[in-house]
Amino acid sequence: MNRQHGPIGRLGPNLFENRLEEAEVELLTILPDVVNEAMEMNSPYVARLFPPTYPFEPDSQKDFESMVGESLIERHRGLLTGFTSTLRQKQLSHNDLATWVGAINDIRLVLGSALEVYEGMDDPDESDPRYQDYMIYNYLSWLQGSILDFLSEQFSE
C-alpha cells in the first residue's frame, strides 16, 4: 500500500491517532475471524499460539493444560476481539495499542505458520500462489513494528 503517513500518530501521553486507511481497516477486520475459525477447527496453523510448556513431560503438560489451557484460549480470543472492536476508533489508548500489537502478533503467527516462513526468506514471485498472503504478512510485520515504536516509549530507558 502506498501511504503518506504512519498508521499511528501520537496525540498525547496516553492518546494516539488511528491513521489506518479504509482498505487497511477492511483487511484487518477479516483476519481475526480467520484466526478464530482456525482455532475452532484445531488447525495445525494455530499450534504456535499454544506451545507446549513441558515438551518432554507428557503428564506435566497434561496437568498444566488442564489448569491454564482455557485461559490461554480466552487470552488469544480476547486480543482478537479487542482488536476488531477498536479498529474503527479514531483515537486509541495505550491499552488499545497493546491489544493491537498482541492481536497482530497472533495473526502473524498463524499466517506465518501457514506460509512456512523462515529466516531470510525471499519474497515469493508474483506468480507464486502464496504471494498475496505473504504481502499481507509483510504488511502486518510493518504495522506491528510501527506500533511497537510507540509502545516502547512507555519504558523509562
Binding site: 510448556t53 513441558y54 498444566f64 487470552r75 502478533n105 502473524r108 523462515y118 531470510g120 511497537l148
Partner: protein, 96 residues
C-alpha cells in the same frame, strides 16, 4: 528471528524433588516473532531494562534459546503462561 529445534535437556539428578529444584523458563527462537516484539514482551513481563531484554533476545536469536527467568515451579509456570499469552515460544526445564 530464525527457526530452531528444541532439544531435551540432560537430567542426571533424578532423586531431587520438585520442591528442591529451581525451574528455568526458556524462550526459543522462531522465524516469525520480531526481535523488537520479543524485547517489548520481556520488558513488559519481567520489568527488564532495555539492555537486559535486548541481550536475552539476541541470545534467543543467535543461539536458538535463552533462559529468561527462573524460580520455583509455580512462578516459572506463571511466567511461561504469561509469555504464551504474548505468543512467545516458552518451555520449562529443571535447573540441574
Amino acid at each position: 528471528m530464525g527457526s530452531t529445534t528444541i532439544t531435551r535437556p540432560e537430567i542426571t539428578t533424578e532423586d531431587v524433588t520438585d520442591l528442591d529444584r529451581e525451574w528455568r523458563v526458556v524462550v526459543w527462537n522462531d522465524p516469525i516473532n520480531l526481535i523488537s516484539y520479543v524485547i517489548y514482551v520481556l520488558r513488559l513481563t519481567f520489568g527488564y531494562s532495555l539492555a537486559k531484554a535486548t541481550e536475552l533476545t539476541m541470545e534467543v536469536h543467535n543461539n536458538g534459546r535463552s533462559i529468561v527467568s527462573s524460580g520455583p515451579r509455580e512462578k516459572a509456570e506463571t511466567d511461561a503462561h504469561a509469555l504464551h499469552g504474548y505468543g512467545l515460544w516458552a518451555t520449562l526445564e529443571r535447573d540441574l
